[in-house]
Amino acid sequence: MKRLATAAVLAASVLAGPLGSPAAAQLRITITDPTLSPMPFAVPTFVARNAEAGELAQDITRVIAADLANTGLFREIPRENHVGRITSFEAPIQFSDWKAINTQALITGSVLVEGDGRIVVQFRLFDVVSEQPLGEGLQFVGTQDGWRRMAHKVADAAYSRITGEGPYFDSRVVFVSEQGPKDARQKRLGVMDYDGANVQYLTSSDAIVLAPRFSPNGDKIIYTGYESGFPKVTLIDVASLQKQTVGGVDQNMSFAPRFSPDGGRVVYSAEVAGNTDLYLLDIASGATTRLTTAPSIETAPSFSPDGSQLVFESDRSGAPQLYVMPAGGGEGTRISFGEGRYGTPVWSPRNDYIAFTKQNAGRFHIGVMRTDGSEERLLTGAFLDEGPTWAPNGRVVMFTRETAGAAGAPALYTVDITGRNLQRAATPAAASDPSWGPLLP
């Protein structure tokens, strides 16, 4: 299998000469505001600085618009409704043209293709109402195959400035691509941009693969693989596609691996004589520590962002519930107390919530709760929703939704932390077990 190309954003810098006082701008979305209505924005096609940049300028503009509109927080004013035309990136903005069509946020930009093939993207964000720029202008330089990443960088900057939340559009997702009938499903690992573009496959369909996770810097993926005939914790290098079994080599079955936030350790489950417990592997030394010893099932672990604690799923009470314990092992504290069965807890990178799967009264839900189990809130409900993963900013959750019956198939969905804006994510085939990678540099 071929090595994967890396689309690069080589440099980002602040543009000189803001056209007003950024401090005066008022543009603001609070994403947890229950009365929120989408903010109208306009993004006229970026100015092409030379003929080679013409098509790229259009493509980049469309990706930026899609990123923002798909959040449900913004509403694009269609280009055919625009009164003003941006023909020069440097020319002063005629704000009256944009006020006339009720624009609140205006994004302008330019694209240049340099002689060596690199592309330069510049952009500015304006608060139309106060006629002020929101933040400095920015410039991104990158390789031509990285044009989508530069569009995501622009959209990320606009999103962050207006919402005050961290960026997440310039990121990738690893998932399991599925083909074939339900009783003989073929599975392989895929990675894609968060919006479904640039899909690449990392494994063949010869062996079952389950529940992959990115390493903290995105260079490796760890998953449960049946390549040996038995489920084993397997590590794959994203660039070279080299694979190795790393955890539970001597155990009957090892699965559910997750990286520690520093990338140096892996927590996973192993089954010995029917009993599944949690183990911690130090990757460098290969040393393994057993973290739990109960006769119950302990699985689906997730580190807290500071690496000091683990949340996991255990049926020690008789049915699966969520527990938190120190990352070195020890007494677990139960945090889920609602009706039903809880599983697949995932600690938010912002440390404010734990996302989980809940099964109750014949339905599955994706939900969030505070890290002490309080303020439980269900975000979705369906025949089978499972396996949430957090966007890098901890404000959007992606998960698997599988439909019922013989023709049932899984797909990836996203929903924001308030339960709004449920959307199906674009994938070329049926897909499950998404895991959101880090924000790209």
């Binding site: 009938p181 339900k182 009783d183 003989a184 499903r185 079952i208 389950l210 529940a211 449960t224 005939g229 038995f230 489920p231 009957n252 079955m253 699965f255 559910a256 489950s269 089954e271 004589a273 029917g274 009993n275 599944t276 099932i297 699985t299 689906a300 799923e313 049926d315 049915a319 699966p320 069965r341 599983g343 697949t344 799967t357 099964q359 025949f383 089978l384 499972e386 396996g387 599988e402 019922a404 019956g405 013989a406 049932g408 077990d433």
Partner: protein, 170 residues
């Protein structure tokens, strides 16, 4: 795939005079070939030493209640018969596969399948089968037998299946 190949080899070794009936040297192996006594076609379902007999007459699977890995009386009877067969046919090892229905999260179901496979394995051992002839694996909810999304299918999918392979054990 590997299991199939092993079974073919097993059929050859177990058959008194396993021979090729494939015709023009195409290498095909007829599982029913050989000198069967008393009208029993070796390797067929009415040959009590055959894999087909084990699957169809002894019964190669036991079923479980929702979220349970406790063996039912029927399951125990099936496993006792499996143990008897394995004792009488020492040339086989067995891989016990544990499975779950789709009503559960993926990784929990893997662990649950592990429990079910081990419950069946432990029972086989209690009935005299040597531990070194048995291995377990879990497929969780990855390999349903029936594909509908109702209890009629789920009850068939919550299972432990004893899959035979040739060999004396490790």
């Amino acid at each position: 795939m590997k299991t199939t190949a092993l079974l073919l080899i097993a059929a050859l070794t177990l058959t008194a005079c396993g021979n090729r009936l494939g015709g023009a040297g195409d290498g095909a192996v007829d599982l029913n070939a050989g000198a069967g006594a008393g009208g029993v076609v070796p390797g067929s379902a009415n040959d009590p030493t055959s894999v087909a007999y084990f699957q169809q007459t002894v019964g190669d699977r036991v079923l479980f209640a929702v979220d349970q890995s406790t063996l039912t009386p029927e399951g125990q009877a099936t496993l006792a018969a499996q143990a008897q067969w394995l004792t009488a046919n020492p040339g086989f090892t067995a891989l016990v596969e544990g499975h779950a229905d789709e009503q559960g999260t993926r990784e929990y179901n893997l662990a649950l399948g592990g429990r079910r496979a081990n419950a069946a394995r432990d029972y086989l051992i209690s009935q005299g089968v040597a531990a070194n002839r048995l291995r377990t694996i879990s497929y969780g909810k990855e390999r349903p037998l029936q594909v509908c999304s109702t209890e009629a299918c789920y009850s068939q999918n919550r299972r432990a299946v004893t899959v035979l392979a040739a060999g004396a054990g490790v």
